[in-house]
């Protein structure tokens, strides 16, 4: 410790800017990791918190995916002797229309029986603050709100609140106010309670509930209760403790979480290079100091410990700063992530609070420290190996030995070979990741050699461009490959990441657009919510003839999409008239015969799978798909596999007749509407709204709107991963600044001599700028090439592990073209401060022998 204070601290103080830049690398990586993870956790935590709070004393919940449960199920549940209380629930979210209040989670219950499960702690200490229970039940506009929400919006008993329902915007009357805390804190206090039968009507549930909450009789265990209910109800129902909903949501979040984690770790990896680079440089610069220490009796262990200690402190400071920044970042990101999740998965979110997981935070802190120490390990080891005699001699620097270079090349070749072998070895997931890692390793091993060669290649052109500045710049690179190679490697890695992400984004976008073009071909869509993914509102079956009979309409396809549990994962069940769909949509067939799959699925004898589901679950033609349904379970063979991007966890298409029969649910989420030839979409929309819109809440979307929506959402999703790319570039730029600062302080004497013999300030400045530009250019060449490889692997990983969707390999030339000016610009910007420092340093001081 004393050595850290005596030896390291003065060095850090002297190179403050560089030290800050070095720790900034770790700080950014940790900030990103903490920010993204915390935001995701907060969304999940707030979801779970809401689930917990509104579950009350319920021990089990009976549901059937999005299909809901019929009313008679309630009686069957109540009849079970293991059940002490059973209360039906409808849960949905609505826009409050109050400025700044966002969404309200509406919990609809049967107030006459619900108190045995939930504690409605009404304001005023007693229930009579539901002004009049009979009025509450009698009037469908009755609403109970929380004290917090009431105070925020100046509402009292009797106030009116309006929100969108199936019947258009409707006014609700506040007939009760829940005391703060407990259930009232669910969904950030934006909780509304209404009568369940009124909710069936205003939210289009028909005679169904979303689920039934259950309290078990005394002495009945959760397991026994579950088993008893399973016996009483038969298959097709999910009987789970309330926490099961959190797990389902978590599995929806999983893909997003994976993407976020990978990129955060990648940027931490790049941060590691910055640390490595800084320490390698520091060891070179401090060789004399190390020599003195060794001469005075410092052991190798002491020298190594000194540098590792420095890196640990740097890591600690960096990760602490990163932690702070990450939490600040999470604050603004939580809402954004919540909204994105809501838009994509249709699960209402109101995450406001950032929730902290102390274990994760400590872990992130430790990760930062460990990463920093790992990065410093090699420099620390070479510091320990410094021979005191050589170190005490002035002016001799280590150069990269020819042998070392050769060894690296051999190792790189081995990595490439192994990587290729892994690739050929096939679909086994760890092998794919191993191949990826090996390839990255090969690129890193080759980076010093390649950057040296590229620097040599650059010498000619640069000298022709500016004879003095050019050769100064390039020679600096060639003479001290150690100084630049880590920076180049970091730059290369981050650019490769950008290209990889850009390519994935581009490929996803292209694939989705292709799918949108072929599949989303109806002229109009009628939905119950602005958000197509949300299934909080539904249309009754009785609306189908009303739509069909409009003169402008040639054909309409009612669609019901319901999330159901399939092999433990929440996949999307798409119920639609398969005959009509087969006729109208030219689907991209991956497996199977198009006529046959249309015929068999239309006849209700088979299902069609989305390609991603087939890939993820290894399902093929003829395989049986089993879906639990209230009727006891559906078992149908796969007649075809088609390309479909409607759901990330995969979709199962089946005929609407089968769905209605199996789930006893004839509601509709979405109408796909085909107009008669010659009818303008706007005219069709006018007719629908005039014909039906006055009675119902509905949104009639033009084909264009839906396309824009889907593609916009795709962009939004990809945008979240883009944040990491920005950070990666930032980290690489830090590396350039770092390297240049060192390069200039190393060559102070050289630059001083140059000025002493008549070099102009502009020439010195030019040399520094050219050096920066050369590093940028080398990094670009290597990074853009490495990106081509990284992209290939990323597509493989996504296809095999995450999305199950094959994406076309398209090199993102546009991204590459934008990166060139960005990186060169960033390199030049990074050179400004070091160049000025070089120009303004005192000549006498520079020439003085240290």
């Amino acid at each position: 410790m004393i050595l850290l204070r005596l030896i390291s601290w003065p060095y850090v103080r002297k190179h403050l800017l560089r030290s800050i830049l070095t720790t900034a690398g770790i700080a950014l990586g940790v900030a990103l990791l903490v920010g993204m993870r915390t935001a995701n956790d907060s969304v999940l935590r707030s979801f779970n918190d809401t689930v917990d709070r509104i579950a009350g004393k319920a021990q089990l919940q009976v549901s059937a995916g999005d299909a809901g449960v019929a009313e008679d199920v309630l009686e069957r549940v109540q009849a079970a002797p293991e059940v002490s209380a059973a209360a039906p629930v409808i849960e949905t979210s609505v826009e409050t229309g109050l400025a700044g209040q966002g969404k309200m989670l509406v919990l609809a219950v049967d107030m006459t029986g619900d108190r045995s499960l939930r504690n409605y702690d009404f304001d005023g200490g007693d229930e009579d603050v539901i002004d009049d229970p009979l009025v509450f039940l009698a009037q469908p506009d009755s609403l109970i709100i929380t004290r917090e929400f009431a105070d925020r919006n100046g509402l009292r008993t009797g106030s009116k609140v309006s929100f969108e329902t199936m019947e258009g915007a409707r006014q609700f009357t506040v007939r009760g106010i829940l005391k703060a805390g407990g259930m009232a804190a669910a969904f950030g206090g934006n909780l509304g309670i209404m009568d369940i039968y009124a909710a069936q009507q205003v939210f289009g549930r028909g005679r169904r509930f979303d689920r039934i909450d259950i309290g078990l009789a005394e002495g009945v265990s959760i397991e026994a209760g579950t088993a008893a209910l399973q016996r009483a109800l038969g298959g097709g129902y999910e009987i789970e403790p309330p926490s099961g909903r959190g797990k389902q949501f978590e599995s929806l979040l999983r893909i997003y979480n994976t993407a976020v984690s990978i990129s955060s770790l990648f940027s931490l990896f790049i941060g590691m290079f910055i640390i490595y680079n800084s320490f390698a440089i520091a060891v070179t610069q401090r060789r004399a100091e190390i020599g003195i220490l060794r001469a005075l009796g410092a052991t190798r262990g002491q020298i190594r410990a000194l540098f590792l200690g420095e890196s640990a402190v740097a890591g600690l400071i960096g990760s602490t700063a990163g932690l702070g920044a990450g939490l600040a970042f999470a604050r603004s990101l939580t809402g954004v992530t919540g909204r994105l999740m809501e838009n994509i998965f249709g699960v209402p979110q109101n995450a406001q609070e950032v929730s902290l997981d102390p274990r994760f935070l400590v872990g992130a802190l430790a990760l930062g420290v460990v990463v920093s120490m790992i990065a410093a390990y090699i420099p620390a080891r070479s510091a320990a190996r410094v021979e005191p005699v050589q170190a005490l001699q002035k002016g001799r620097y280590q150069v990269l030995g020819a042998g070392e270079n050769r060894a690296r090349r051999w190792a790189a070749a081995a990595c490439v070979a192994l990587g290729l072998a892994c690739l050929w070895a096939g679909a086994y997931r760890p092998l794919a990741f191993a191949g990826y890692s090996l390839t990255v390793a090969a690129m890193l091993l080759l980076a010093p050699f390649l950057s040296l060669e590229l620097a040599r290649a650059l010498r000619g052109p640069l000298r022709r461009f500016k004879p003095i500045e050019g050769s100064l710049a390039v020679d600096s690179l060639i003479q001290a490959p150690r100084r630049t190679s880590a920076t180049v490697a970091a730059l290369m890695l981050s650019l490769a990441l950008v290209i990889g992400q850009g390519g994935v984004a581009r490929a996803s976008y292209e694939s989705i657009r292709g799918w949108v073009d072929t599949t989303l071909n109806p002229d109009l869509f009628i939905t119950a919510t602005e958000n197509i993914a949300s299934r909080g509102f539904r249309f009754p079956a009785s609306m189908i003839p009303e739509v069909t009979k409009l003169p402008a309409i040639e054909e309409t396809q009612p669609v019901r999409t319901a999330r159901v549990q399939f092999r433990g994962k929440p996949v999307m069940l798409v119920a639609i008239d398969m005959e009509s769909l087969g006729r109208r949509v030219r689907r991209i067939v991956v497996a199977g015969n198009i006529e046959e799959m249309n015929r068999r699925s239309a006849a209700g004898q088979a299902v069609i799978l989305a390609e991603n589901l087939a890939n993820l679950e290894h399902l093929g033609l003829g395989d049986m798909v089993e879906i639990p349904t209230p009727r006891g379970g559906l078992r149908l063979p796969v007649a075809g596999v088609i390309r479909d991007y409607s759901n990330q966890l995969g979709s199962i298409f089946l005929d609407r007749k089968v769905y209605i029969r199996e789930f006893q649910d004839d509601t509709v989420d979405l109408f796909r509407v085909y107009l008669r030839p010659g009818v303008a979409p706007e005219e069709g929309r006018r007719q629908i709204i005039e014909g039906l819109g006055s009675r119902r809440r509905m949104f009639v979307l033009l084909n264009r709107d839906v396309r824009d929506y889907v593609l916009g959402l795709t962009n939004q999703w990809l945008g979240m991963t883009r944040i990491q790319v920005i950070v990666a570039v930032l980290v690489a730029v830090l590396g350039i600044v770092n390297t240049l600062t060192v390069s200039i302080s190393d060559r102070r004497r050289e630059l001083g001599v140059l000025r002493a013999v008549g070099g102009l300030r502009a020439q010195i400045r030019g040399a520094v700028w050219l050096e920066a530009a050369a590093i940028g250019a080398i990094g670009l060449v290597l990074g853009l090439s490495a990106g081509a490889v990284v992209l290939y692997y990323e597509l493989q990983v996504i296809q095999r592990d995450v999305g199950g969707m094959p994406l076309a390999y398209i090199y993102p030339l546009g991204v590459a073209a934008t990166l060139i000016p960005i990186i060169l610009g960033a390199a030049l910007a990074a050179a400004i401060v070091p160049a000025e420092a070089a120009v303004r340093s005192s000549l006498v001081e520079a020439l003085e022998y240290e």
Binding site: A87, I130, D132, L137, Q139, P140, D195
Partner: protein, 257 residues
């Protein structure tokens, strides 16, 4: 759970007792006789309700009531007539001798009927000071009775009888005291205790002889914990009116009257 809750609405509270010779001075026999005298095959009245909260706020409701069927097997319909917010809301109560009664509610504004799931008998009856238990018909066998002496209520001599729920029988009350008039066997007052504290007091007055059945036409329930009271009065009371069984179904509930 919801066994006999509403039954009492047309039961002991509303069916006062006939004058009869005092055959037995035994407490239990007096209570039994009091119940027996109140029985009728059917009943109809127009009720009005006035709830006065602790803060002095008064809310009023009125309804029509019809009941048919024998004791323990009766069916009743309550249909609210005012105020406007609850007009048309109807309750159907079907009692079964061997199991819990079934209850449905029709809410015209929502346009559908619903089963009422009552899971706690101590819950207040739709915002009044009566709990569902208070409206139940008391099964004589569920309590132990003891004579506490004689006391006059509003000048009328009464037997003062204490009842306690038998072991294994649940009630929100620890004990109750009823004052039964010696002249007509009508209960003039109830006092219900939770632990040692008086929780609710019911006064029955305006006792009139209607078609040979002595009937109190004003019931005043005071909840001493909440400091609020509910007054219930009956108009156009008739007994033994011919009724059609088909009018006591969920389908009939939907038909506006």
């Amino acid at each position: 759970m919801s066994e006999r809750c509403i039954r009492r609405f047309g039961g002991a509270l509303l069916l006062p007792l006939l004058i009869a010779p005092v055959l037995a001075q035994d407490a239990r026999q007096i209570v039994e006789e009091s119940q027996r005298r109140g029985r009728a095959n059917s009943q109809r009245y127009e009720g009005s309700l006035e709830v006065t909260g602790a803060n002095g706020k008064v809310s009023r409701k009125s309804w029509n009531y019809v009941r048919t069927g024998s004791y323990g097997n009766s069916k009743a319909i309550i249909r609210f007539t005012s105020p406007a917010e609850v007009k048309g809301v109807a309750l159907l109560i079907v009692n079964h001798p061997d199991r819990a009664s079934d209850q449905w509610m029709w809410t015209p504004a929502i346009g559908r009927d619903r089963r009422i799931a009552l899971q706690d008998r101590s819950t207040r009856f739709f915002g009044t000071d009566f709990s569902f238990e208070d409206l139940e018909e008391r099964d004589v066998d569920q309590y132990d009775y003891s004579m506490q002496g004689e006391e006059a209520v509003d000048g009328a001599p009464c037997w003062k009888i204490e009842s306690r729920p038998r072991k294994g029988k649940t009630s929100q009350y620890t004990r109750s005291v009823v004052w039964i008039r010696k002249d007509n066997y009508v209960a003039a007052r109830y006092e219900n205790y939770i632990k040692d504290a008086l929780a609710r007091r019911l006064r029955q007055s305006r006792i009139e002889n209607i078609q040979g059945i002595w009937t109190p036409r004003l019931l005043e329930m005071t909840d001493l914990r909440r400091n609020s009271r509910t007054a219930l009065s009956f108009e156009k009371l008739e007994y033994n009116v011919p009724m059609n069984d088909n009018d006591f179904t969920v389908q009939a509930l939907r038909r506006e009257q």
